[in-house]
Symmetry: C2
């Protein structure tokens, strides 16, 4: 095991009807609230009205229209401006991971005098952030229980991971019923995203039996419940388990003491969605089996054996390479059968800019230092295999 320091100060309030607790949850932070949300799904499903009614005693300012793969210039900068202008006490993020990620960057930017981009790119250390309360409506990123935020800057094709302890939400209100109306495309993508988060933690060395078991438990939970929520979007038990598993999946609790993998699949996917604005979880599902194939070798095969035997129950007496190849195939098949588009062409990416993206990734993501090192050529291979 490697040394680690771990603390998650966020309070998770989980279950049916927990949104009702919003006033008592917000109250200790102050009365001036910036409410952030996305494209309007919360208006269609009634959550917007519910929240507004609950906040009668608060002064609420609104930042609507936060986009998927949230944008620095279009959303972070105006949000920071609003916080400063209206002396906001607390940010209330209502929506999915993009809304919350954007709100985290706003929360930090609001406590800083310079350009928020300085913080996001670690040119200046984050010293403070406004408190954030969120109501998550999508089971996917786990942003509700982590200190990470991913921000895109379309002008430069940058998609940057910004991680800082000040970015933990103070309270996350998680009612699985608000995930009933997620369209199937995003239900699938959310599950793929969370599964990938677990894999990014699992495929590393050193590792422990405890972490391996917890990772496999999370993957099994998602794989067991994914078909259930697609078959019956109102299946509370299945939605609840998917939601809570997603919440834990990006929080680090599955890899304390493990070596760091370098999060290679995220490194690659971030370029795809920065260049083409595709759905993050779909991009990850497409990359996953191709990354696995690319890095499979004598040095890495042991991790695939553990993965394949524990997750899929593959016969441990088979040759290690055979187990690994079977496990990769089963991973691909699972995503495919779930209904995720499993080629780049299906999500609108052709071969025109693969080289440019591979170069961008090689320069910016540091994947030569990953657990399974990738140079520009390897990355290009993965992209080509994903076409």
């Amino acid at each position: 095991m490697i040394n680690f320091s771990y603390c998650t100060p966020t309070r998770i309030v989980f279950g049916k009807g927990v949104v009702e607790k919003l006033p008592e949850v917000l109250n200790p932070f102050g009365k001036r609230v910036l409410m952030t949300y996305g494209g309007g799904s919360i208006k269609r499903n009634g959550l917007y009205d519910k929240v507004k009614n609950l906040l009668n005693d608060f002064e609420v300012f609104e930042l609507p229209g936060i986009e998927p793969n949230p944008k620095y210039t279009q959303s972070v900068v105006p949000g920071v401006q609003m916080c400063k202008e209206h002396h906001i006490d607390v940010i209330l993020a209502v929506g999915g991971g993009s809304v919350l990620d954007c709100s985290k960057a706003i929360a930090a930017g609001a406590c800083y005098d310079g350009e928020p981009w300085d913080l996001i790119t670690y040119q200046v250390k984050t010293q403070a952030a406004l408190p954030i309360v969120d109501i998550m409506t999508l089971a996917a990123t786990g942003s509700e229980y982590d200190a990470a935020s991913v921000i895109s800057r379309s002008e430069t094709n940058d998609k940057v991971g910004y991680i800082d302890p000040h970015l933990y939400p103070a309270v996350s209100l998680l009612d699985p019923e608000y995930t009933f109306t997620i369209p199937p495309k995003h239900t699938r993508a959310g599950i793929a995203d969370a599964m990938n988060h677990v894999m990014e933690q699992f495929f590393a060395e050193p590792y422990t039996a405890l972490n391996d078991g917890m990772c496999i438990a999370a993957l099994k939970s998602l794989m067991l419940n994914a078909p259930k929520v697609l078959a019956d979007p109102n299946d509370y038990e299945a939605r609840a388990e998917v939601f809570y598993t997603c919440t834990l999946a990006c929080n680090g609790i599955f890899c304390n003491g493990n070596g760091h993998s370098g999060w290679p699949m995220h490194g690659i996917e971030h370029a795809l969605s920065a260049y083409y604005d595709i759905t993050h979880g779909e991009g990850l599902a497409i990359i996953t089996p191709r990354w696995m194939k690319q890095i499979l070798n004598e040095k890495t095969v042991g991790r695939f054996v553990t993965y394949g035997t524990m997750l899929f129950g593959i016969d441990a007496n088979l040759a290690p390479m055979e187990i690994a190849e079977l496990a990769i195939r089963k991973t691909y098949d699972f995503f495919k059968e779930l209904g995720i588009p499993m080629t780049l062409r299906e999500v609108g990416i052709d071969d025109q800019r693969l080289g440019e993206m591979a170069h961008h990734i090689a320069v910016n993501e540091g994947l030569e230092d990953a657990w399974a090192p990738l140079n520009e050529e390897d990355i290009l291979e993965i992209l080509k295999a994903s076409l």
Copy 2:
């Protein structure tokens, strides 16, 4: 899943050499430190001197001699008095679960004007507690990552669980190397304690695939590493994994959304160690298979099937009752082979007070409302079977 609210504000700092961070960890809380510890093992292994050297810049008051199954009158009351008299800023607990449990009760008592027993027994709601930093030297109770404290009052044979969010340690410094010198008896008992914590969470309804998988991961981790640490007490990797698994085992992360079991084995064991001052983990190991046998029936057998097939790999095609009985036998065998005394007589308890204890437990522990309800007669059966 049932609704839940979950937050663990403790920072875990884990690994080789982390004790060196003590001054920077303590500093934000203040300069006046109450250092609590037990019977002197920290003097023998050099930790006492190391801590004192690190705290040159602090004003340190000492409360030594905290006993196993820490006592209200002998340790909590004097500790509270010291905190008030010396205007203590922060408590530094150095030792095992008993030292930390006692320190938690002291920390709360120090912020209360009346009798600390009022808080411990919930007659008065805890409103505040001094911050606690701990250096744990025993892998066992998980007190370093939970809000619980167990305090005994020998005058009345009470052993009371006191749980309050104010009791979370602020920072837990966990260096597995300080567990190298734990005597085998306590290494075994600590592992049995942590395994029992997991079982108390697992044997409940409703449950989730995620929690089941995490519980089994923890049990497997402990069962895999237990023989290793007994064979080679200086095996860092095995000690580290045991330690961290114990840390998570009592924290609730394995049962969020599950029904509450009522922690029946702890309810029973608390009477054993209150009446006879036995080692908690040994008492739990003795009770475990007998409790399992007592509650096994058509209603509970499903949980045993999951337990037996996932943990021991028992053939899922066998009859459920057969799987359950095999699983119980294997549980007993594991503890026995580990070298734990598996009868009450071996730990000095005869049949003289079984009825009295069964009555005490039935009156005080509320086990009629447990997931698998136990009346006084059931409890007596378990105690008799444990002789």
